[in-house]
Symmetry: D2
């Protein structure tokens, strides 16, 4: 199997952990814990994944290698030396991370048109099979129509993620087989503008918002209660963390973006409205990359009695998401090989908080896993046929 060339947007903790863990996995230094489909032969191996390029706008990272960033910035140990080959290239910032850190971006002190061209050229030269977007959370509304997306590009009324995904569409249009995996809340797989264009151009968009922490577990616990016909009276899911993701959520608008992808889950699964509070609550530096989650669920059981469940988690969110990327890159390539384009709910439903296409329901993750396995098996069965087909 040839390499799966992977381009990364955002050299943050998640993608750093991904690149480090991936190389260590390839060398057999670690067990593939946290990679859901590690033991499944899906036709694209972990060993095939190769990170070919990385883009960021943090001036402290641009120009450095992933090796340096892993060791100096994130204090990781056992960093494989192969990461010295991946140098961080400046991205497009568009004023969206102002104040969070010093910026070094292509669009800084240069015409936007010019920087767009440079970015496009850089991505094109990298010849990525898969683009993984793990940039900083930005609030945005979907465009719904490709026409409106193009207009917004002209007028520069879009966020970096929407812009990167647009560049990916342009490359697809030129005939490149590319998958765009969106791990942040910005609607891409939930925007018809992107998935219909991708479907038309033979590309793939997966997303939105990687689901690693408390939300997928909440989904399964809610399903557990639903199946017993226990009436959920209310649900609170509080979480606090110490990494830059949480720090940036102090910004109200970013928090709202997060909240949107999370709270739909309750009604989607239960099938009725119930009061719920699910959002990133605050920032506490001492937690570092770990997150503390506290969940309270109260429900009515038989003959009106009331029960309650309290869940506390102390979890490393970024590594969990990094493990998912190993799968998502393989699945994205697998799907493209099989000629599936647009977006794929059967993948999104397991890995994403807000699975595309638009208006899709969140389902219990244990059921989503069943669908994922079934999808993978179906592909495996027809791998020879390789029919061009849009799932969407």
């Amino acid at each position: 199997m040839p390499e799966v060339k992977t381009l990364i947007l955002g050299a943050g903790y998640v993608t750093t952990f991904f690149t480090v863990g991936l190389e260590r996995l390839k060398r057999g230094k670690i067990e593939p814990y946290g990679v859901p489909l590690a033991s499944f032969d899906i036709g694209v191996d972990i060993d095939d994944i190769k990170v070919v390029a990385c883009v960021d706008v943090d001036a402290r990272k641009v120009g450095k290698t992933m090796y340096d960033i892993a060791r100096e910035f994130y204090k990781l140990r056992n960093v494989p030396r192969t990461l010295k080959d991946v140098v961080v290239y400046p991205g497009i910032e568009m004023g969206f991370v102002k104040g969070l850190f010093p910026v070094n971006s292509l669009d800084y002190g240069r015409s936007f048109q010019r920087s767009v061209e440079e970015m496009y050229e850089f991505i094109g030269k990298a010849e990525p099979d898969v683009i993984v977007d793990a940039t900083t959370t930005q609030y945005a509304e979907p465009f719904n129509e490709y026409r409106l997306l193009e207009k917004a590009v002209m007028e520069r009324r879009l966020t970096p993620t929407q812009f990167y995904a647009y560049l990916a569409l342009k490359l697809m249009e030129e005939g490149k087989q590319i998958s765009y995996v969106n791990l942040i809340p910005t609607p891409i797989a939930n925007d018809y503008a992107y998935i219909s264009a991708a479907g038309k151009f033979g590309g793939l968009v997966l997303g939105d918002d990687g689901a690693t922490g408390a939300t997928p577990l909440t989904a399964d616990i809610l399903e557990h209660l639903r199946e017993r016909n226990r009436r959920v009276l209310g649900l609170a899911q509080l979480n606090i963390g110490g990494n830059s993701d949480f720090k940036s959520l102090l910004d109200e608008k970013r928090n709202r973006a997060k909240e949107y992808t999370k709270s739909s889950i309750v009604e989607d699964i239960l099938g009725y409205y119930t009061p719920s509070y699910i959002k990133p609550t605050g920032f506490l530096s001492s937690l570092g990359d770990k997150k503390f989650v506290s969940m309270h669920i109260e429900y009515t059981s038989f003959n009106g009695v009331k029960d309650e469940i309290i869940v506390n988690m102390r979890i490393n969110d970024s590594p969990a998401l990094a493990g998912y990327i190993v799968d998502l890159v393989r699945l994205a390539k697998l799907a493209l090989n099989a000629g599936i384009c647009g977006t794929i709910y059967d993948i999104n439903a397991f890995y994403m908080k807000k699975p595309g296409p638009p208006n899709s329901k969140n389902i219990a993750r244990i059921l989503a896993f069943e669908r994922l396995i079934s999808f993978v098996k179906t592909i495996a069965d027809r791998r020879q046929l390789n029919v061009q087909q849009s799932m969407f």
Copy 2:
């Protein structure tokens, strides 16, 4: 649809709650919360269930009506007056609950042979479609062969539950269509002696050990972790309660019976051995019928990071099990109507801690629910055909 005549073994909190809740449900006084299949039309309605008889060996209950027991013994409110019709008849005790409470049983001060006949006659006259066993937990080993079971009956070397289930087999042998639903840890659906005889006689045995509290949730959380390939390092599930069930577990042997049905779940679901501690921990009178459960799970995620989940539950176990009985009685009748005999894993896997037949695996409850629904639909499809068939 004709009545589903139900005979109850054990007038404890669970069955009292069941009879009270059932009558209130029929009257539309409560929502069917806690009854998993309440909204499914499975061909046997909740309204069809009728409790026709009840057996117990507690001298404080024998001779009283379920109405009195619900009000005076368990201090329940809103008890329907129809429960005045169900009078508790003395059962067989065989020395197994000595010391727990004052005993009034058929086998007290009378030849065993004589009391067996009376018991058999009583049950026969009640003409039950379904017998629900919710007696006190007793430790027992399976007989495996019907021949050995019969020998044990002769020699009186068996527990009350094994004995009641044997009487049910005798009635089946006489051509009565009976389902025996075993909610306690004693192996009945996990004993070939019972299920093969039931299969032969055209009867049904469901069991063992109703799964309402922390164990099913643990199953789903373990599945959640397994699907993400997170390596569980260890699991502790501590639980303490204040009802007579917990009090009786202070007796080491009874606790062992409980432990057996619970701990197999971890390896069954994860597929590998991991240290675990799952057993009823202690008795605390102030908790009353509520149970306090605390669970700690530690696991390894991507690139070797460690996470932990803590779950605390404050739950009413008995009402939850009472809600299950509403389903189990309907399903037992449904299966018999459809001519299925022996035992049915697709039912047991969802409702039971130790689902029969012997050596069956525990699976995640969310997956078990899928199988249950699929089973119910299959039956519904062929309801007209009514083929006599043993699932086992």
Copy 3:
């Protein structure tokens, strides 16, 4: 002992619970649980307390009796009929609760000067010994000087609580012996403008912000860790509730007022800075008056090992504060009888989140209780002497 006439500002859940509980206590209908000094003979008995008047600005309450409010508004049961004598009088609103509920206040559609006079006259006629302020949380800065307070009154630049407390000062100035007990975060006992004036006029101010829920327990847990020289690395205290107090905190400014009184506690007790996050987190209607609190503390122990403590609480905040009022009214009267004026740290330190006078430290509540008991004993010893003296 003559009656302790008590005037209540704010007919909310706390004060309703207080008036109901107080009357039931007097009748011997309940045990005095939740009243810290119930078993101490401090010279002012619970039976002496008499609620003589109540003020509110909620149009749904003004004109109603506390009996009606307790039953209809808060759905309390067992409400003593004596509460029919307390009718809610309209208060001063000054635009601070706009949008939270329909308003009926003295300053609505009338000159401010006029409404001030009416309010003053109403309070004066009630002849209160103690005024208890449990109005809605308002953000405010201290005036520090009485002169500046008077100026602010002229210019109407103050909050209702600051205004009510000012009226109390005016009555003190006229020779009335009055204690003002401030249970909300607005700085009164933390404002030199009030406590120095009260000291001069022979009155008393206690406050600020009643400390019932998670914060006092946090204080004691922090002291517990401090005494073992365990280094606290960080503390998160998340809490979510469903009553109007939490709803109003959705307003950023009110939340800030709350945060201010809460977060000083960590450094006060530990003696060093450590990252902490303590604030009301959100609103979840299903919780009703109950609050769900979740706390996470991580610390370093001997030879560098790290431990963590997680506390989850499901508490009724309002009743807890209601129980404190029973004490605070008695203590306020006791202190005035003993001739102590200004403010009293030994009382505030136990009952308040932000104990006055200004710049006072928060101390562990178990130590504060020692001081409280010692204070009460000292007063008891010199009750005969009755020396006029300012503690401040």
Copy 4:
């Protein structure tokens, strides 16, 4: 100040951690976190403590140095090389640890009389100022009279700890100034036989059962509730661990010894009986030296409302106790220098689960700390006087 020669009984995790941590503290390699009085100048410095000898009966440890044990047995890092000087000497086993590990003891294959003499000689030569007992938990009853203790020695009817403490008494009788610090549940400071003899001979006994984990925190939380007059309805404290201490508690008799020291605390502090369940619950190897604690408290507050507190802890018990030893050795020496003999409640009440002398009450730890500080200050004040005096 001269050295405080310390002899250690039991080369387990606690004392290994103590010796390693102590040496690192002396070298300034770590902060004195977990040492309660680290910042207090009590006249005996941490630098003065010198471990001169160590005794154990585990064949895998006897003859090895503490350096080897720390590194090989407990996998500790950064072990100071000075620990190479402390070689583990065989102790007296008397059949009490049979089955837990391979035994190498003085009383193995030798007359008891002979081994007693050797042990006595060994301790005598070590010339300890303080003997710290951290041997394996053994169940025992107090002798109450010295005469009965001597008789039991003759008849060999006592546990190793009772025997070691007896040897200490014999040395005191010979005029050696020795303190015996008992960290295990065996009653020593709770046995008049020991404390009266120690008082007579000018020696000191501190104990029993070091209080580091959940129990002291429980004490402070109970005091917190008591001071608010909240009625505790019941308390469950479950804990599970993975070290040899927990493993040995699977033995019923040892568990009972532990339970005894723990459960008295509830009534001692609350002043009334309430249902409680406090005992080591089980063993889970994956927890290693960490312990998982889960506590549930339910109480009634004002006007009859019910609240609940749930505490979960993930703690390292052994290091915490190791940190206490640093204090206890210093305090033991301080007290002897000041001429105080017998036992000292003001020390025991803070550091011990079952503080001696017999029939002493457990008090909240925050209050015990106040007494401890006051005791230390009193000694400091009269350090010059040095009056011989028995506190008991």
